[in-house]
């Protein structure tokens, strides 16, 4: 197990270098000159030279990359071209909001997904199983932005019980309850796809375990069905689900951009999309870097956890 963990940790290094290289390359792949974008179309050549020097654009690319990496490592991601403030502060505030949304969605998807998968798997072929299968097929094929808009029409206009978007009310109460009310619709929208994916995996995992000898043994020795389910089925079902949960947690953070835009939620994804549309490259880079690194580490955590839970895992 030690060797596997060491290998898995070592693999993080090239992946992280690759991620940073890709994010850095964005700046140079992007059409247009960042100096022109910053100074505006009426800048004189002298001004452009100064700005290029200020941004370090007059140096060789490897030097620029090394410099950028050095600064990024201490949390300096440059300044926003549009707003003038440090990128790090923008990204950090929005990251907290995104993490909150992702956390709520993750809990929702995990609880609902495991319950639905267990019920469907234990009652294979029943009407309940078919209903769960049908609903999860629906959830899997509905675009997040469409589901979000439908929920807005239903619960913010037809039956106006929830706010249409944002994170805080402009006026009136703005406590925890207010934030919670703003989270309901985005969290449901974001959780839809992971819930169906988790439910499907849990269902097939349950079906596989039901055929195992130790389940037959447990039943044969007269264990009550409740005990069989909680002791043997639930526990063994969850092992393959953990890697999946890791992937889904990453998806919830990285894939939240669409949901955040639909609900005008002040998260990193929304910030990233706005910065792309406004050609504010330092902000885009900061958002992408943070989202990708979080994704890498969440997956690493899931792998380590699974390795700890399941001693049969391959050491290769």
């Amino acid at each position: 197990m030690g060797r596997y963990l060491a290998q898995r940790l070592l693999m993080i290094i090239p992946v992280m270098l690759g991620v940073t290289l890709l994010v850095f390359a964005m700046m140079h792949l992007a059409p247009g000159d960042p100096a022109v974008a910053m100074a505006g179309p009426r800048a004189t050549p002298e001004q452009l030279t100064i700005i290029r020097h200020y941004l370090g654009l007059d140096r060789p690319l490897p030097t620029q990359y090394a410099l950028w990496l050095e600064r990024a490592a201490v949390g300096d991601l440059g300044r926003s071209i549009r707003q003038g403030v440090p990128v790090t502060s923008l990204v950090l505030v929005d990251f907290r909001n995104s993490a909150l949304l992702a956390g709520v969605s993750f809990t929702l998807a995990t609880v609902l997904g495991i319950m639905a998968g267990l019920v469907a798997g234990l009652n294979r072929g029943s009407i309940l199983d078919q209903v769960i299968g049908f609903v999860s097929a629906l959830g899997f094929s509905t675009p997040a932005f469409f589901l979000g808009l439908l929920l807005i029409v239903l619960f913010a206009y037809k039956f106006p019980i929830l706010p249409i978007g944002g994170m805080h009310s402009v006026q009136g109460s703005s406590g925890l309850l207010d934030v919670a009310r703003h989270l309901v619709l985005p969290a449901i929208t974001l959780a839809a796809v992971p819930t169906t994916v988790i439910a499907r995996t849990v269902r097939s995992s349950v079906l596989e375990i039901l055929g195992q000898d130790y389940i037959r043994t447990a039943r044969a020795k007269g264990l009550r069905e409740k005990m069989v389910i909680s002791r043997h089925i639930l526990k063994n079902t969850l092992i393959p689900v953990i890697t999946l949960l890791g992937l889904q947690a990453g998806f919830l953070l990285g894939g939240a951009a669409i949901v955040e835009v639909v609900f005008s939620y002040p998260g990193v994804g929304n910030l990233m999309i706005q910065s792309i549309l406004e050609r504010d490259l330092p902000v885009t880079q900061g958002c992408v870097l943070v989202l990708a690194l979080v994704y890498v580490f969440v997956n690493l955590g899931a792998d380590v956890l699974q390795c700890y839970l399941d001693p049969r895992i391959h050491f290769g």
């Binding site: 964005m26 932005f145 807005i152 393959p240 669409i258 999309i273 549309l277």
Partner: protein, 302 residues
């Protein structure tokens, strides 16, 4: 002598296998027809594809003709089966023309990522060694991004637009195929029919083309068809975010984004494009799932 007999046996069984191919294909087809959901999916996809191909003939109006007197007519209003949008453009015509764009993008991006993914995956899996190591590290890096984030990054770098969106979802999809194909080639590499071809002195290219690739075909068909729906969804998402097709292009995701402020006044202007995306994706998923069962293809969890 023994080795010769063994080789002959292998050649014989390969020939028998080749002869059995049409029979197996017929069996698979029969299994597919038995799946009600698969047939439903095929029907959905075919009808949308036909309407898209014949768009100039079947679309009742020009998709971009503005009729301000007939703004936001509800579905089934006079002359407009699905109603009109906020500028009075006929929604049915826009959906039909939009289908052209969405299906083309999904198909083209899938073919793009599959061709590159299959070639790279076969090379990595077949040759192994340093080539494999380098390719797989690059794949690891690409898979270190959530799929939609990678596509967004690529569009962000290339600049918004319909073509760049197609390129972005295509590039972002490559890593998935490389890993899938490489994994299968590694196990096929040791099979008897590859061994036989090698012992008969076939070149690497010949072995990859004539022995390895055909064994992958069922997988390629299944994951290709599932992938088209997935990429259509991703491309529509990018358009919805304003990074893909730009108004007034009748692309489904862009239509939704353009009209979303009016969702409370005339919900159908948003619901109809949404349902169009949903139906295509459901159709392709049902079709792909049924194909998977019919061809008996399993995706290894990895």
């Amino acid at each position: 002598m023994e080795a010769e007999t063994a080789t002959q046996e292998v050649v014989q069984s390969s020939l028998a296998r080749a002869e059995a191919m049409p029979e197996r294909r017929r069996m698979a087809l029969r299994r597919f027809w038995r799946s009600k959901t698969g047939v439903l999916g095929a029907f959905l996809v075919l009808s949308i594809a036909l309407a898209a191909i014949a768009a100039p003939l079947v679309a009742p109006y020009n998709p971009n003709t503005v009729d301000l007197l007939a703004r936001m007519s509800p579905p089934l209003a006079s002359g407009h089966l699905l109603g009109t949008d906020i500028y009075g453009r006929d929604l049915l015509s826009r959906i039909i023309w939009g289908g052209r764009l969405s299906l083309t993008i999904g198909l083209a991006a899938t073919i793009f990522s599959m061709v590159i993914g299959i070639l790279t995956g076969i090379a990595a899996g077949y040759f192994g060694g340093p080539l494999d190591a380098v390719i797989m590290r690059i794949v690891d890096i690409m898979l270190a991004f959530p799929y939609i984030l990678l596509a967004i990054v690529i569009v962000g770098a290339l600049g918004p637009g319909l073509f760049n969106t197609m390129l972005a979802v295509g590039i972002a999809g490559i890593a998935f195929f490389v890993r899938l194909i490489r994994g299968m080639v590694v196990s096929i590499r040791e099979e008897m029919f590859v061994e036989a071809a090698r012992s008969l002195g076939a070149t690497h290219v010949h072995i990859m083309w004539r022995a390895v690739l055909p064994a992958l075909v069922p997988y390629i068909i299944v994951f290709g068809s599932l992938n088209v729906g997935w990429l259509i969804l991703e491309a529509a998402s990018l358009s919805f975010l304003g990074l893909g097709a730009q108004p007034p292009t009748p692309e489904w995701g862009a239509m939704l984004a353009e009209q979303r402020q009016y969702v409370t006044i005339a919900p159908h202007v948003v619901i109809i494009p949404g349902i169009a995306i949903f139906l295509v994706v459901v159709g392709l998923n049902l079709f792909g799932d049924a194909l998977r069962d019919a061809l008996d293809v399993r995706l290894k969890e990895s």
